[in-house]
């Protein structure tokens, strides 16, 4: 984002929010300005009480103390000024210490420094193989051409699945490798405190999202910020899963925040008669043979509902040593991270054709500007209608996630073993199964290989039907190779073995990890292929 655009964004967001504040104040049931300021003050004070180590806490306390003081005697004009200051402060917080010169430098330098950085982490590899080429490590597949086209024809919201804090780094590099301009994105404040990732966050053009701020006005500022930047043609990255998928499941319940900004930006563009009004949504998936934070994430997932943490700040991604370990593992083997770009959609969830025009499910072109006309035939925001559109777009993204999930050996092998054990112990509930790992007798290697083969066959059939994707190793379906590859991957990173092979039998090692890697394949109806005859054996 260039400096002049940046200033324009700030001004625009501020004026839109203020205007909305004034408009809603006169609506019956709306919030009068003093109530609105008071409400925001209340949320902020509460936050500052709870989060005693929040960054800039002292400055915030001073600011809000001063707001409280002035609020007591404020007249109409003072209230407006107060609101303007509050909104201005929120906008500046979102924007962070963004410096255009630094940004421009880093967006060209960073992708080149990433390999060097990784290299420094793994001197052994440097010695044996020379400078790493990330394209060996991160494989990009799918409709890359469609993404490039969308970026050329309009503004793009890239919506990836979210399994690891490395996702944004991987995607940042991938965008560079695909020859695209960097995308901006909202990153949780906690990532700016991460010793390793903060470097990328600051330099990849991330804006700051403070999830501890609960004031509705702050959320409005965030949403409007995203909307305005989209309108100005700045493509964005948005994780609709909201946070890293704790369980390893493919996310199906999505947060729709930025998708709704997409619809609003599109309507605003039409209203303002902009030359390139279109906003595209491009889902993509990232799949890792081993996941950096797997152990912490699944442990958190398995804690009883309500006790799990939304923001985790002490997981593996906050430990430089662990990241080092992860990259060593990743660089030591072939084909570990797959980024798959799904088909381009419009903001309503329609697919688009080769010229970027929206098409219906029969391939006929659709004039999408007609979706947002009002009774007078002019484009307009109609909140209830637009919410339904956003929900439908969200459903299209979930479908894309499922279809573009790339099945890896580590997922498939874990799935086969976990489902086999589950079928063999039908009376055990999930927690008991995870605690005990079954009766501990393991499976004979030949039987297990047969199950792995059966799941691979089922995955291949679904791949051919376009319901999922898979790596070549999976499609080839050789059980010995699959099991060998999975065990090597687990072993190269995780300290506890996920699966243990002893003699001619296979045992579950770390049940939680087994469950985690297995979860990515649930919901495809592959369970019976994995269970095989285990169910009958169990019932005998």
């Amino acid at each position: 984002m260039r400096n002049e655009i940046r200033d324009a964004v700030v001004t625009e967001v501020q004026s839109r929010i203020l205007e909305a504040c004034l408009h809603q104040a006169v609506v019956p049931g709306g919030m009068p300005l003093d109530v609105l300021v008071n409400d925001t003050l209340y949320h902020e004070k509460k936050r500052l009480e709870i989060y005693t180590s929040a960054p800039d806490r002292d400055a915030d306390l001073a600011f809000w103390g001063q707001v409280k003081h002035r609020l007591g005697t404020a007249g109409e004009a003072d209230l407006r000024r107060l609101l303007q200051e509050i909104v201005g402060r929120f906008v500046q917080e979102v924007l962070g210490n963004f410096r255009d010169s630094v940004y421009r430098l880093s967006t060209t330098v960073l992708p080149r420094t990433l390999p060097v950085l990784l290299n420094a982490m793994s001197p052994q590899r440097l010695l044996s193989k020379g400078m790493p080429d990330l394209s060996d490590t991160i494989r990009i597949e799918g409709d890359v051409e469609g993404l490039r086209r969308a970026e050329r024809l309009g503004t793009v919201i890239l919506t990836p699945t979210h399994v690891s804090n490395l996702d944004s780094v991987v995607i940042g590099w991938a965008l560079y490798a695909m020859g695209l301009k960097p995308f901006t994105f909202g990153a949780g404040l906690n990532l700016f405190a991460n010793p390793v990732l903060s470097f990328f966050m600051r330099n990849l053009g991330a804006y700051r999202v403070d999830r501890t701020k609960t004031a509705p006005l702050y959320k409005d500022v965030l949403k409007e910020y995203a909307t305005v930047t989209l309108e100005m043609g700045q493509s964005q990255l948005f994780f609709p899963g909201g946070t890293r998928a704790r369980s390893g499941f493919i996310e199906q319940r999505l947060k729709l925040g930025l998708l709704s900004s997409g619809v609003h930006a599109y309507i605003n563009n039409l209203i303002r008669g902009r030359a390139r009004p279109r906003v595209f949504v491009v889902p993509c998936t990232t799949s890792y043979e081993v996941v950096l934070e797997a152990e912490t994430l699944v442990e958190d997932h398995l804690k009883l509902v309500g006790k799990s943490r939304y923001i985790i700040t002490d997981d593996e991604s906050f430990q430089p040593k662990q990241i080092l370990r992860f990259f060593r593992s990743v660089l030591a083997m072939d084909g570990r991270i797959v980024l798959r770009v799904a088909d381009t959609l419009d903001v309503f969830g329609n697919r688009v054709d080769e010229e970027g025009e929206s098409i219906d499910s029969r391939g006929r072109r659709v004039d999408i500007s007609r979706y947002v006309l009002d009774d007078t035939g002019r484009p307009a925001h109609i909140p209830q209608r637009d919410r339904v559109y956003v929900r439908e777009a969200g459903a299209a993204v979930s479908r894309a996630f499922r279809e573009h999930n790339v099945v890896l050996a580590t997922n498939l092998v874990a799935f086969a073993l976990f489902e086999f054990l589950k079928a063999r112990h039908p009376t055990m509930d999930l927690y008991r199964l995870l605690r005990t790992g079954g009766d501990g007798t393991g499976i004979e290697m030949g039987v297990f290989a047969e199950r792995v083969r059966a799941v691979a066959v089922a995955v291949r059939e679904q791949t051919e039907a376009g319901q999922v994707h898979a790596t070549d190793t999976v499609l080839e379906g050789n059980p010995a190779r699959l099991i060998g590859s999975a065990l090597r991957h687990y072993g190269s990173y995780h300290r506890n073995p996920v699966i243990v092979r002893r003699g001619d039998r296979v045992f579950a090692g770390d049940m939680n990890l087994l469950y985690y890697y297995h979860n990515r394949l649930t919901g495809y109806g592959l369970e019976s292929a994995a269970a095989g005859e285990a169910r009958e054996v169990a019932s005998r």
Partner: protein
């Protein structure tokens, strides 16, 4: 293909704020014709699309549609046509009322002409056999339109045409669809209620036809109020179990589209599905009955679709199963009734776990006790 040159820009409101007063109804059966008539009486220039050219001529010159509605007079504001493109471009709101078997084909053809600002409301009560799709899902798949709704309720076409007061439900995710349908269709004798649960409303409308057949069978066997009432009530329970599996709101089945439509179709001799059941009970053969009807009885197909699905998903639907056995497995009405009545006695509310004698519980002591009880009673 919809391009800017082909499609008219939506006409802006005139000074009085009144939107365009036009409407289109796709499908000239009894319900389609009745709906077109209502729109006509409300002052809408209404195009009624149908395939049969003779009927078009009949509607336009004699103002009747005898095959479906006898002598009832159709409002002069209705013009019949065989030109689907014209009907599609004519109005902002289109009511689609073609039999479920032809629905996808017509929807696909409509998809060539309609644009994303238009509203499509299905008034067909049925399910597509392949994949068990609801009509609104088919509209979504075959057209670019998003503002889609479904109309369902106790609406026997002949009664509506004769001006008997009644109510119906229009369901959609979009407020706008509900509001516009309401504005265009409701009148002194026809009242519309809105509902956001389109899944429930469509399933209720489709499933009730199964119980209408059962009601007809009961009538044909000479049974009266007690029997009908039992069928309706237990039928609703089945509907609720089936519907919630698809995410329908159970309370929808307590409304006009559920219990309301059930009472109308299970008890009225005007209902085609009811007639199918009655003739079956009187010893008729299904193929002959369907042929003699001269119109589609959706319940026959719906029974097949629902039965297949319920069996696969293990949804307990004994009445639907009994109807299936009469229609397709050669069971006599008497034997179907006997099996229904002689099933092991059950509780009214199957879903409440508190009341069920669970055989295994978290408490080992309770589990052991329950096992001892079942050993004694076996």
């Amino acid at each position: 293909m919809t391009t800017a040159t082909e499609t008219p820009t939506p006409t802006p409101n005139d000074a009085s704020g009144d939107p365009r007063r036009t409407a289109s109804v796709i499908g000239g059966g009894s319900w389609g014709t009745a709906l077109a008539h209502i729109l006509g009486t409300h002052g809408y220039e209404t195009l009624l699309w149908m395939r049969n050219e003779d009927t078009v001529l009949e509607v336009n010159t004699q103002r009747t549609n005898r095959r479906y509605l006898g002598d009832a007079a159709i409002d002069p504001g209705v013009e019949a046509t065989t030109d689907l493109r014209r009907a599609a471009l004519h109005a902002e709101l289109l009511l689609i009322v073609v039999p479920s078997k032809a629905f996808r084909e017509v929807a696909f053809e409509l998809g060539n002409y309609v644009t994303g600002d238009q509203i499509l409301v299905s008034a067909t009560k049925g399910l597509q056999e392949d994949g068990m799709k609801r009509m609104s899902e088919i509209l979504r798949e075959e057209t670019c339109c998003r503002k889609i709704g479904a109309l369902s309720g106790p609406n026997l076409a002949k009664e509506v045409l004769n001006g008997h007061p009644t109510s119906t439900v229009v369901a959609s995710a979009f407020e706008e669809v509900i509001a516009k349908s309401e504005r265009m269709l409701s009148g002194p004798r026809f009242r519309l209620y809105g509902n956001f649960d389109i899944v429930g409303v469509e399933l209720a409308g489709a499933l009730k036809n199964i119980y209408a057949i059962a009601g007809g069978v009961a009538a044909g066997l000479g049974f009266a109020a007690n029997t009908q009432s039992a069928l309706i009530t237990r039928g609703l329970a089945e509907m609720g179990r089936f519907g919630t599996r698809f995410g329908a709101d159970p309370s929808t089945f307590q409304g006009l589209a559920g219990v309301g439509d059930m009472i109308a179709t299970c008890t009225s001799t005007l209902s085609r599905n009811h007639t199918v059941g009655r003739l079956l009970a009187e010893g008729g053969n299904l193929d002959d009955i369907v042929a003699s009807l001269g119109m589609v009885a959706e319940g026959v197909d719906t029974t097949r679709v629902v039965h297949q699905f319920a069996r696969r998903e293990r949804i307990y639907m004994p009445i639907a199963e009994a109807v299936h056995r009469m229609l397709f497995e050669g069971a006599t009405p008497e034997s179907a009734l006997t099996t229904l009545m002689e099933r092991a006695s059950r509780y009214e509310d199957l879903d409440s776990l508190i009341h069920r004698g669970a055989t295994v519980s978290e408490s080992v002591v309770d589990t052991a006790r329950a096992a001892a009880v079942s050993r004694r009673t076996d």
